[in-house]
């Protein structure tokens, strides 16, 4: 389907989950994107970091809890989840407050490795500059 072109695709997530649909429908695109053999990265910046929070329980709001899907991304070959440290800090969060998203590295005897890459704002900005296509939601 990709006709030989490989591009850097960035999914930019800056919004909290549930208050609006963007986080959920962004994930739906990412899952489809996995079929296209492109180089996919996800960025979690500002309120986007809340999407990865541990322990989400949506029963009482009667919405679908889509947070387990992040952990399935590795099976789709999506293993680069960039999380910005400054965004966590402002919100009083650390990596311990986030889900432990992992993938199995097929080039390393299927060893389990973390998908979340904690980066500084400067590193996030530099990573953004390497992208071809940025999908914002």
């Amino acid at each position: 389907m990709s006709e030989g072109k490989i591009k850097q695709f960035l999914y930019l997530n800056r919004k909290a989950p549930y208050g609006t649909v963007y986080a959920l429908e962004s994930l739906e695109v990412v899952l489809i994107a996995a079929a296209f053999d492109q180089d996919v990265s996800l960025a979690f910046v500002d309120d986007g970091v809340y999407q990865l929070a541990k322990g989400q329980d949506t029963k009482a709001v009667e919405m679908k809890n889509f947070s387990p899907v992040y952990n399935a991304l590795g099976d789709y070959g999506i293993t680069k989840l960039y999380v910005e440290k400054e965004s966590l800090d402002e919100r009083g969060l650390t990596l311990d407050d986030l889900m432990n998203v992992i993938y199995e590295d097929e080039n390393d005897d299927y060893a389990e490795k973390p998908s979340i890459r904690l980066v500084s704002r400067a590193e996030m900005a530099a990573m953004m500059e390497t992208q071809d296509i940025v999908l914002s939601f």
Partner: protein, 101 residues
Amino acid sequence: MILHTVNKSPFERNALNSCLGHAEAGSAVLMIEDGVYGAMAGTQVSATVSAALANVKVYVLGPDLAARGIAENKVLAGIQVVDYGGFVDLVAANSTVQAWL
């Protein structure tokens, strides 16, 4: 008195700040939806919210905390957690509801 509702993240929008700047002493503020992030301890806005507690009563919607994975022990001391029934009671107990959309 007014029941003020805030449904926006205080890190994304100015709704909570503007609400607290207009809430008269003794009025009530209820955080719902993405507004519940304003109830967490240890954030960049916690000090502002804590200070406001001297002036206004602050409530937060429990179902929205749970959806977002915020344990109740992460909520600032002095903020009361309510469910939808509690939200209804707050509306009934205050003469007017003002939404900070």
